[in-house]
């Protein structure tokens, strides 16, 4: 019997998991082969060492920390679980779809409302006037409330289609 074949059967030999013939063949080989005998001894000693490795124990506050995590888990689940309910989620999708349809329908019925009312909170440190044609009505104006720049607004004052002669004017509302 070849040495490698014997080594390959080491575990099966120890577990008595071989046929009688195989078992005796290995025993006979071990009687004759010192190398395999030593290898088997070393393997046996290593397995014994692995069996007897120092046992670790968890730290004393292990359960406490775990239960604290579970407590937090409970509150997180309470906060998030509602949207996981299929009926709630489906209702949400239905409502969103309804709102979207209503918006599309209302725009289709009354296209004039689609003209933008443009607003911005941009800071306008200096009030001034920009005009292409001083005689025509202002269409786009910016107001500057110098008391609070956050209230500055830029808006379309007339919801009419744009004309080439429209004006853009900055209006300072400071008293």
């Amino acid at each position: 019997m070849q040495c490698q074949l014997v080594l390959d059967k080491y575990t099966a030999y120890c577990d008595y998991d071989l046929t009688v013939t195989e078992h005796s063949a290995i025993e006979n080989h071990l009687m004759e082969c010192q190398g395999c005998r030593e290898a088997f001894e070393k393997l046996g000693s290593m397995v014994k060492k692995l069996n007897g490795l120092a046992e670790l124990q968890v730290s004393t506050d292990f359960n406490e920390r775990l239960l604290s995590k579970i407590a937090h888990l409970g509150s997180a689940e309470t906060h998030t679980v509602w949207y996981k309910i299929p009926t709630v989620r489906t209702s949400g999708y239905a409502i969103a779809a309804g709102v979207a349809l209503a918006l599309i329908f209302s725009q289709w019925m009354n296209p004039s409302t689609t003209n933008p009312t443009l607003q911005t909170n941009s800071s306008l440190p200096v009030a001034g006037e920009i005009s292409n044609n001083p005689t025509s009505q202002p269409v786009l104006a910016a107001t500057d409330d110098s008391s609070s720049t956050l209230n500055d607004t830029l808006k379309m004052t007339e919801p009419t289609p744009n004309f080439p002669g429209q004006q853009l004017r900055l209006v300072n509302q400071t008293p």
Binding site: L7, D8, K9, Y10, T11, A12, D15, D17, A39, K42, L43, M46, V47, K49, L50, N51, L53, A54, E55, L56, Q57, V58, S59, F62, N63, R65, L66, K69, I70, L73
Partner: protein, 195 residues
């Protein structure tokens, strides 16, 4: 009498009680498995604190997914599978990090053995060098051999249980145990020669 009754309650009965809402049963399962799992995971990742975190995550998963357990499998099989998966994913994460770090200095092909900053309990007992070397050898084993050697030779689980945990045929488990032992012995050759 009451003590006797407590001892004879099986893991499967405990998880069933926990599924029915008895949290005390969960605590009992934690007490039964926390040290066993710590040893299992520690041999896997080689860091005590990290191992304890993984064991905590394992019990959290058991808590959250208690209703996923079915009595077709032993509870031990189930919980070892969870812990093993978490430990493996931790190792994968580390390996990715390692590849990145080593690629910075062009040594990605070299076997990298990070310095063990947490020597674990071995530093406090006699034969600490030998135990440290064994731990080092375990960590050098390929994943499939490492798991097998931990489950069989350190945790001393049955072949049948290992087969269920790893979802591989029993014959494969047995042959892998043998190959893992031979590989392990090869890695510890210097140790044997020295002592």
């Amino acid at each position: 009498m009451n003590m006797q009754k407590q001892i004879t309650v099986t893991d499967e009965e405990l998880i069933a009680r926990f599924q029915a809402g008895t949290e005390v049963a969960y605590i009992e399962l934690v007490n039964r498995y926390k040290d066993r799992l710590l040893n299992f995971v520690y041999r896997f990742v080689g860091d005590r604190d990290e191992a304890e975190d993984i064991v905590q995550d394992t019990f959290l998963k058991v808590y959250k997914n208690r209703h996923a357990y079915r009595e077709v499998a032993k509870f031990s099989t189930w919980i070892y599978t969870i812990a093993g998966n978490l430990a493996r994913s931790e190792l994968r994460k580390r390996r990715r990090h390692k590849t990145f770090s080593m690629s910075q200095i062009g040594l990605e092909d070299k076997e990298y053995d990070p310095p063990d900053t947490d020597a674990g309990p071995e530093s406090h007992v006699s034969g600490q060098y030998e135990e440290a070397e064994i731990q080092r050898a375990i960590r050098q084993l390929p994943d499939q051999f490492r798991t097998i050697i931990i489950l069989r030779d350190i945790q001393e689980l049955s072949y049948e249980e290992i087969s269920k945990i790893l979802d591989i045929p029993m014959g494969t488990v047995k042959s892998r145990v043998n190959r893992a032992r031979l590989k392990m012995q090869d890695l510890l050759k210097h140790l044997k020669e020295n002592g």
